[in-house]
């Protein structure tokens, strides 16, 4: 299944937001839910990253890769990374997958790999 993560485009001024906010940060329009959803691009470049060793209790892995990616439309997002030798500026490609499991709940988010 091809899952998406959505950006929120202000119906009044067109500004794109990720994550969701109730009021547009650009035009401050105060109309309820006046945003269109637009799928975030999945290709981008790795802006910064880390490998974390002390993970929250739910993670049953030794380390976790995390990064902030600048997507090809200029928006940014944080995601997990599965890249052996990450480098700042390298091209990456995202896929929406399970990023956290708690009890019987699955949480989906973007996982980036070497493009």
């Amino acid at each position: 299944m091809n899952r998406e993560i959505y950006a929120y485009k202000c119906k009044r001024c067109g500004t794109m937001h990720y994550p969701f906010r109730m009021v547009c940060k650009e035009c401050k329009q105060n109309d309820f839910f006046e945003f269109d959803t637009v799928p975030l691009p999945k290709n981008g470049k790795l802006l910064t990253y880390t490998k974390v060793y002390n993970l929250p209790a739910q993670y049953e892995v030794a380390t976790l890769g995390l990064g902030i990616v600048e997507l090809e439309n200029g928006m940014r997002m944080l995601g997990q990374i599965e890249i052996d030798n990450p480098k700042m500026g390298m091209p990456v490609k995202g896929n929406v997958e399970v990023v956290r499991q708690e009890d019987y709940d699955d949480f989906y988010g973007m996982v980036f790999r070497d493009a």
Binding site: T50, I68, R76
Partner: protein
């Protein structure tokens, strides 16, 4: 607006404490009340982040005010993440400055060692954006690590600079009997020796174990009073002269320039403007070094050094005791410890100690103006304060 003075201060040892949360807050408060020479207050503000989640306790201020037999004074808890302490001091200031209260107790407290380290890390991580950050397993060390990598790339900060902050602050804590860490460290031991990778492993690359503050329990308290009351009590006149608070985007990735800490910049500028001071006037500062990189970045954003040059000032020794602007002479969060809700109040405790000339081996000579930066979230909610000794 009335002038507001700090008439009393108190603190507990920062470490693992086997006392109830409200007792830790009360202990620091009793010291502050005794120091000020007051036994009645108009209002109590208790800064705390984790009581409902970590200690299974809500309405903490109601417990503290009664434990201290200060009823029927007003009482409220203030939860504002790691900036809870600074926020509670701001609330106390507003109460006195407005004329509604003459004497206010502000206590900060956290008891995080009640749960294991992984649970404590997860509890602090709940301050991140729930959908865009938290679900990915992001922790505060992870945010700090990604920020550090950008800082290294842009400004030439190295792991050695980070380690220098760690050594400076952890060893400064040796001069502070209340501080959590009482173990001397060296650059050799944590960076240069063959054992360094074992002694000082990565927790979130490029940050290592000694780049992060410890997980601590502890409490701190201050008594804020009107000028009339301050003169009556006869303690050294330390005025809380400036307060700035500013916020930034919840999700870190949304910030236009990811190496900027705009909330720190604005909170500091507002505090200095309110006080009629400039960064050059500051004799001693407490910056929020939950991670070593933050001391470097904040030292720039608050205006002590130009952006990108904090690590150079560190190299020149300007931020050490005896330097141009001594930072975290009591150990900072790195050495003193970081019981989250207590930290902003503990920073004020250290500055008042310094302005009174009671710093002992860590005293900054003739300190008249002090500054604190209490950094909440990952830089998305920041409170800065200025303190001035009068007379």
């Amino acid at each position: 607006m009335r002038d507001v003075y700090v008439a009393g201060i108190g603190i507990t040892t920062f470490t693992r404490l086997e006392f109830a949360l409200s007792e830790i807050a009360s202990y620091a408060s009793m010291m502050a009340l005794k120091d000020a020479g007051v036994s009645e207050v108009d209002d109590v503000y208790v800064a705390n982040m984790g009581a409902p989640r970590v200690n299974h306790q809500t309405a903490l201020a109601s417990a503290v005010v009664d434990s201290l037999s200060l009823t029927p004074a007003g009482a409220a808890a203030i939860e504002n993440g790691p900036a809870s302490g600074g926020s509670a001091i701001k609330a106390g200031f507003q109460a006195v400055a407005s004329g509604m209260s003459d004497v206010v107790l502000v206590a900060g407290v956290e008891r995080m060692r009640e749960v294991n380290n992984l649970e404590a890390t997860d509890f602090v991580a709940t301050l991140t954006h729930p959908i865009a950050e938290y679900i990915y397993g992001v922790t505060l060390p992870a945010h700090a690590a990604m920020f550090t990598r950008l800082y290294m790339e842009k400004y030439g900060v190295t792991e050695r600079h980070l380690a220098m902050v760690g050594v400076k602050n952890q060893n400064a804590a040796l001069n502070n009997e209340w501080a959590h860490l009482q173990q001397e460290i060296t650059l050799e031991g944590i960076l240069d020796s063959p054992e360094a990778m074992t002694n000082n492993p990565y927790v979130a690359e490029p940050l290592r174990f000694f780049d992060a503050c410890p997980v601590s329990d502890g409490g701190a308290a201050v008594i804020l009073v009107s000028k009339e009351k301050a003169l009556e009590l006869g303690r050294p006149l330390i005025r809380l002269s400036g307060i700035g608070q500013a916020t930034d985007t919840h999700a870190v990735h949304e910030r236009v320039e990811p190496t900027d800490l705009l909330a720190v910049r604005k909170a500091a500028a507002d505090a200095f403007e309110m006080a009629g001071l400039t960064p050059e006037d500051v004799d001693v500062a407490e910056l929020h070094d939950a991670f070593t990189i933050l001391e470097i970045a904040e030292s720039e954003e608050v205006g002590f050094f130009p952006k990108g040059e904090g690590h150079l000032a560190l190299e020149r020794g300007e931020t050490a005791l005896g330097g141009k602007i001594p930072i975290n002479v009591g150990g900072g969060l790195k050495g003193r410890g970081h019981p989250v809700g207590a930290t902003g109040v503990a920073q004020a405790w250290e500055i008042v100690t310094q302005l009174r000339g009671d710093g002992g081996a860590r005293q900054v000579e003739d300190a008249k103006v002090g500054f604190t930066c209490n950094f909440g979230g990952f830089g998305n909610n920041v409170v800065c304060l200025t303190f001035v000794r009068e007379g």
